[in-house]
C-alpha cells in the first residue's frame, strides 16, 4: 500500500492505512466519525433500474432507515451520500458532476450497479464507462441491479470506512485531500 502511487480518484485521507490518529483529537475524531457514520443522508437521485432497487431498499422490508439513512434529501446541499444508481450517459455526465460539486463537503459517493461502476452491459457511443471517470467514488456495489442486500452491504462497508477516517484532520487542514 505505501509504495503505490496514490490512486487519483480516492480521497487522500480515507484510503491511507489507519495511521496513528492525532493524539490530542483522537476522541474528537471518533466522535465526529461516529456521528457522520450514523446519519448519512442519501441524495434522492435515481438514474435508471438501480434507482428502483434503491427505493426498494428504502422501503418496508430492507429498511435503510434503521441506519438513520431514511431522509432522502432532494437537494444536493443537504445530502452527504450520493448513490449513483443507474447508467451515466454522456449527456447526463456533466449534470452528475455538477450535482456532486454542489454537495456540502464531507460527502461520499457509492457507485451502485455495473453501469455506474464500469458502463455495465452498454459498450456504446452514448454511455460513460464508469462514473469514477468524473467523480471520486468511495464504494463500488456490483450487480445489475444489485439486490437490496447487496446495496446494504455496500452502505455498511462505507460506514466502516467512515469510522476509520479522521474528520478532524480534514477540518483543520481542509485541503489535505
Amino acid at each position: 500500500m505505501p509504495g503505490e502511487p496514490e490512486p487519483w480518484n480516492s480521497r487522500g485521507t480515507l484510503n491511507k492505512p489507519a495511521s496513528a490518529p492525532p493524539f490530542l483529537l483522537a476522541k474528537a475524531d471518533a466522535f465526529i466519525a461516529w456521528a457522520q457514520k450514523n446519519s448519512l443522508w442519501p441524495f434522492g437521485s435515481g438514474l435508471a433500474c438501480c434507482a428502483i432497487e434503491m427505493i426498494a431498499t428504502a422501503a418496508g422490508r430492507y429498511d435503510i432507515s434503521r441506519f438513520g439513512m431514511e431522509l432522502f434529501r432532494a437537494s444536493p446541499r443537504q445530502a452527504d451520500l450520493f448513490i449513483v444508481a443507474g447508467t451515466v450517459t454522456n449527456k447526463m455526465a456533466p449534470v452528475v458532476r455538477r450535482l456532486w460539486e454542489q454537495m456540502a463537503d464531507p460527502k461520499w459517493v457509492v457507485a451502485m450497479g455495473n453501469c455506474a461502476v464500469s458502463g455495465g452491459p452498454f459498450p456504446t457511443y452514448a454511455v460513460l464507462q464508469g462514473v469514477d471517470k468524473i467523480i471520486p467514488v468511495d464504494v463500488y456495489v456490483s450487480g445489475c441491479p444489485p439486490t437490496p442486500q447487496g446495496l446494504l452491504h455496500g452502505l455498511i462497508t462505507l460506514q466502516s470506512k467512515i469510522a476509520r477516517s479522521h474528520p478532524t484532520r480534514e477540518i483543520l487542514k481542509p485541503d489535505v485531500r
Binding site: A48, E53, A56, K91, F122, Y125, P145
Partner: protein, 364 residues
C-alpha cells in the same frame, strides 16, 4: 408593467420526474403556460447495440428498457422473434408466460400507485404498495433468481417449469394481495384531498387521445375500448376470461381507477392460467445458433404502460439487421404538454405520474 413569466427547469434530477427527464416549463405564478419535455438523458444506444448481438443475447437487454415491467419487454421481443422464425411455443409455455406477464403487470401497477401517491403527498401508500410488490418479486426471485431484471421469458418458451409447490405459493401470494389493494383504495378513493388533486386534472378527450397515439391505461381512461390482449390476442390470451376496465373523463383520477381495476383483472387471469395449466413440455426446441431467413415483422403486446411493439428485420444471419422498439411511454409523454397547459405547477407532477412513464423505455 412588462409581463415576464418564470422559465422553470424541472431538471434531469428532480424528486418526481421518475428518472432523468427534464421539463422546460414557462409558468406565470404557478399556472403552466408552456411545457417541453427534454429526453435523452438515459439514451444508451440500445438499438445500435442490438444490431451487433444475436437474438438470444438481446433478450436480457430488453429487461433494461422498462425496468419496472421487465417480463413484458421480454414477452414482446420474444413473440416478435418467434413470429419471425415461425417457432411454435407449446401450450404449457404460453400459459406460464401469461401468468408471468400478468404478475409483472401487477408488480408494475403496484409500483406506479406507490410513486403516484408519493408525488401527491401520501407517503405511506408508497410503503404499503412496495411491501405488496416485494411479495410478487419474491415469486420472481424463487422462479428465476432475479427480482427486477427477470429475463424470465426466453425464445421458444420459458426457462423453468412451474412445479405444483410453486403454483400453490403463487396462489397463496395472490390470496394476500387483494387486502393490500383494498387498503390503498380505502386510503385514497374517497380522500377529499386526493380527489381534489386528481379529479379534472390533465383531462384528455377520446379523439385527442387516439390522435396523440396514447395507448394503455391513459387511453382506456378516456373510454376508448382498446386492449391488445382482447383485440389482437397473442400467447393464447383468447382462452382467458377477463374484462377491460374503462372510464370516461380521461383525467388523473380515472387513470388511477383503471389501473387499480386492472390489478384485479390480472390476478383473475393468473388464477385462470394456473387452474388450467396444460401438460406437456414448457419450451420448444430452439437451435443453439438461431439463423432467421430475411423477413420483417411488427409485433405488439399490451404492456402495463401501454402498447409495446417490436419491429425486427432479419437478414439470414444470427444477428438482426434492425430492431426498433415502439415504446408506449415515449408516445404517452408527448401528450403531457397538451394535458398540463393551464393547470397548476403542482398538477404537472400529478399528470406526469399518471402517465406512468419509465425513462429507460423512452430513451432506449
Amino acid at each position: 408593467m412588462a409581463f415576464k413569466e418564470i422559465a422553470l427547469n424541472m431538471g434531469p434530477q428532480h424528486p418526481s420526474t421518475h428518472g432523468v427527464l427534464r421539463l422546460k416549463l414557462a409558468i406565470d405564478n404557478e399556472v403552466v403556460l408552456s411545457l417541453e419535455p427534454v429526453v435523452g438523458y438515459l439514451h444508451r444506444g440500445m438499438e445500435k447495440l442490438w444490431e451487433s448481438l444475436t437474438y438470444t443475447q438481446i433478450v436480457p437487454l430488453t429487461d433494461r428498457l422498462d425496468y419496472i415491467a421487465a417480463l413484458s419487454n421480454n414477452l414482446g421481443f420474444v413473440l416478435a422473434v418467434e413470429k419471425l422464425a415461425g417457432l411454435e411455443v407449446p401450450p404449457r409455455g404460453r400459459y406460464i408466460r401469461v401468468a408471468l406477464a400478468e404478475l409483472q403487470r401487477l408488480a408494475s401497477h403496484l409500483a406506479w400507485v406507490g410513486f403516484q401517491a408519493n408525488d401527491i403527498g401520501a407517503m405511506s401508500v408508497l410503503l404499503y404498495a412496495f411491501e405488496a410488490r416485494e411479495r410478487v418479486l419474491d415469486l420472481f426471485e424463487e422462479y428465476i433468481g432475479a427480482r427486477l431484471t427477470v429475463h424470465g421469458i426466453r425464445i421458444g418458451g420459458v426457462p423453468r417449469d412451474f412445479d405444483p409447490e410453486f403454483v400453490r405459493k403463487i396462489e397463496r401470494t395472490l390470496d394476500g394481495l387483494p387486502a393490500t389493494i383494498r387498503n390503498i383504495e380505502l386510503l385514497l378513493n374517497e380522500n377529499r384531498i386526493w380527489q381534489e388533486r386528481t379529479r379534472g386534472v390533465g383531462v384528455v378527450g377520446a379523439a385527442e387521445a387516439v390522435d396523440f397515439g396514447l395507448t394503455g391505461p391513459p387511453l382506456r381512461a378516456t373510454g376508448v375500448r382498446w386492449d391488445i390482449r382482447m383485440d389482437v390476442p397473442y400467447s393464447s390470451y383468447e382462452d382467458f376470461e377477463f374484462d377491460v376496465p374503462l372510464a370516461e373523463h380521461g383525467d388523473v383520477y380515472d387513470r388511477y381507477l383503471v389501473r387499480m381495476e386492472e390489478m384485479r383483472q390480472s390476478m383473475r387471469i393468473v388464477r385462470q392460467a394456473l387452474a388450467r395449466l396444460p401438460g406437456g413440455d414448457f419450451t420448444a426446441k430452439v437451435p443453439r445458433i438461431l439463423r432467421i431467413p430475411p423477413a420483417e415483422v411488427f409485433q405488439t403486446i399490451e404492456a402495463p404502460k401501454g402498447e409495446l411493439g417490436f419491429y425486427i428485420k432479419s437478414n439470414g444471419t444470427d444477428k438482426p439487421e434492425r430492431v426498433k422498439m415502439k415504446s408506449p411511454s415515449f408516445i404517452n409523454l408527448m401528450s403531457l404538454a397538451h394535458m398540463s397547459r393551464g393547470n397548476l405547477f403542482s398538477d404537472v407532477v400529478g399528470i406526469l405520474g399518471s402517465l406512468d412513464i419509465v425513462l429507460g423505455e423512452i430513451d432506449k
